[in-house]
Amino acid sequence: MALKTETFLVNAGPQHPSTHGVFRMRFILDGEVIQDVEPVFGYLHRGIEKLAEGLTYSQDMVFTDRLDYLASMTNNQAYAVAVEKLAGIQVPERAEYLRVIMAELMRISSHLMGVGFLTNDIGAFLTPLLYMYREREKILDLFDMVCGQRLTYNYMRIGGVSQDIPEEFLPALKKFIDTLPRFIQEYEQLLATNEILLVRTKNVGILTKEAAINYSTAGPVLRASGVKWDIRKAEPYSVYSRFNFEIPTGSKGDVYDRYRIKIEEMKQSIGIIKQAMEQLPQGEIQAKIPKVLRPPKGEAYGRIEGPKGELGFYLVSDGATNPYRLHIRPPSLLNLTPLRELVIGVKIADAMAIFGSIDICMGEVDR
C-alpha cells in the first residue's frame, strides 16, 4: 500500500554554488527524484550579437573575451579565423604557431577548471579545485607575461597576434610543460581510483551516441559518447595539420567518460605545445591589413575546436566597416540541450554531477 506523494517545486536558481554562473534549473521533485526540469537562461544575456553589429571588426574582438571567460584565447582565435576567412587574409607562420600555443594552454586551463568544478559538485569541496587552481595560476602567469592580462586577453588580432613573446616566455613555458605531466599524474592518483568519484560518476547521466549527435552536442560531451569528431582533425584550421595528436573518445558517454576525456585532452595538449615550441619559426607576427577593415560583401563561417566544443562565428558583411550580422555558435548552450533528457528520473545529487560534467560557461550560453 503505497501512499500518495506530492510534487515539490524548487529552483536551483541563479545564485547557486554549483550552477557555474547565473543559470537556473526549475526542478519539480517527488521526494528526491526529479520529475521534471526546466532550464532557464538569460540571466547573463548582454546582447553581444546586437552590440557587435554596431562596432567595427577589430573592436568586436573585445567582446569575444567575455563570451567563454574561461577560454578567452580560443574565443579570440575563433573570431580571428572567421574574419580572416571572410576577408581572405593570410596569417604569417609565426603568428599561427603563437596562436596554437596560446589556444592549447587555454584548453589545459579550461579543462582544469572543468574537472575542478566537477569534483566540487560531486562533493570534494574545494580540495581538488585548489590543486587545479595552482596550475591555472601558472598558466595565467604565462599569459600575463605575453599580453599583460589574466583573464580577458584581447591578445589575437585579425591577421595575426598583437605582441611577440618576450625572451623569458619560452623557458618559462618549457618549465611549465615539463612539470605539468607530474601534476596531472598527481590528480590521477587523487581522483582516478577514488572510490567516491567512481561510484558517483560511473553509469550516471549516460548520453548515447545517437542522442549526442541528434542533440548537436560538441566537444568532450560528444566525444565521451564515442563519436570521433574534433575540428582540429576534421577541418584542420591554422597549422594543426602539422602536429600529430590523438583524439580521446569515451565509450559509454557517462559522467566518468566526460571527466576522463578532459584529463586525456590535457595530455594531448601538452604534446601539441611541445611540438609547436620546437617548430616555432621566426618572422613577423601581423599580416598587413588596412587600418579600417572592409571585408568584401558576403558571408563566412569560421570555426575552431574550443575546450567546450566547436566554437564558430557566422559573419555576414555588406561591405561596411561593421559586421551586418555576427552569430556565435555556442557550444555550451548546445551541450545543454540534452540536459532535460539526462536528468529526468535521477536524484538531485546526480543531476548536479551530470550538469557539472557538461561543463558550461554562462558567458557563452547567454551571450
Binding site: Y301, G312, Y314, L333, T337, D366
Partner: protein
C-alpha cells in the same frame, strides 16, 4: 578535410525527391521554399549518400525586406557540409516549421531565434523566450528595433 558539397548536385537530388522545392543553389548553399523545410530536412537526413545527421548551428538574419533562416548541416561519417537557407518574406507574422522533430539540437536555437527575431516556429515543443523575460517589448536583433 571537411568537404563543402557542391550544392548543384544536392539540389538536383532534392528536386527529384521534392519537385519545386529549391529556389536557387550556389557554392555550398541551397535556398529552398519555406513550406518544404521539414520535408527537405528529413530527406537530407535519411537518404543514404547524404545523411546529414548533425545540425551544426541554426540562425537567422534580418535583411530589412525579408528574414533568412540558415541551417548549417554536417554529416559526421562522410565529413561533408551543406548550408540550407530559407527566405521569409512576411515580416508581420514570420512563420516556419520547426525541425526539432528531425534534429533535437534545434530546440534551444529555435527558441533563441523566436526570442531575438520573432520568427514563430510551428510544432516546437516549448516555444517561448529563452533569454529575455516575458513582457519584453519588441525583438532586439531586428534591424528596426528601437532601444
Amino acid at each position: 578535410m571537411t568537404v563543402e558539397l557542391q550544392a548543384a548536385e544536392i539540389a538536383a537530388k532534392l528536386e527529384a525527391a521534392l519537385p519545386g522545392c529549391t529556389i536557387e543553389s550556389s557554392g555550398n548553399t541551397i535556398v529552398i521554399k519555406d513550406e518544404f523545410v521539414l520535408k527537405a530536412a528529413t530527406f537530407l537526413k535519411n537518404t543514404a549518400g547524404l545523411d546529414f545527421n548533425y545540425l551544426n548551428f541554426l540562425t537567422a538574419t534580418d535583411y530589412q525586406t525579408y528574414f533568412e533562416v540558415i541551417y548549417d548541416l554536417v554529416s559526421l561519417e562522410h565529413n561533408h557540409k551543406l548550408v540550407l537557407k530559407v527566405k521569409l518574406n512576411n515580416r508581420e507574422k514570420p512563420e516556419l516549421a520547426s525541425v526539432t522533430g528531425v534534429w533535437k539540437g534545434a530546440d534551444f536555437q529555435e527558441r533563441e531565434i523566436f526570442d531575438l527575431f520573432g520568427i514563430n516556429f510551428t510544432g516546437h515543443p516549448n516555444l517561448k523566450r529563452i533569454f529575455l523575460w516575458e513582457g519584453f517589448q519588441g525583438y532586439p536583433l531586428r534591424k528596426d528595433f528601437k532601444q
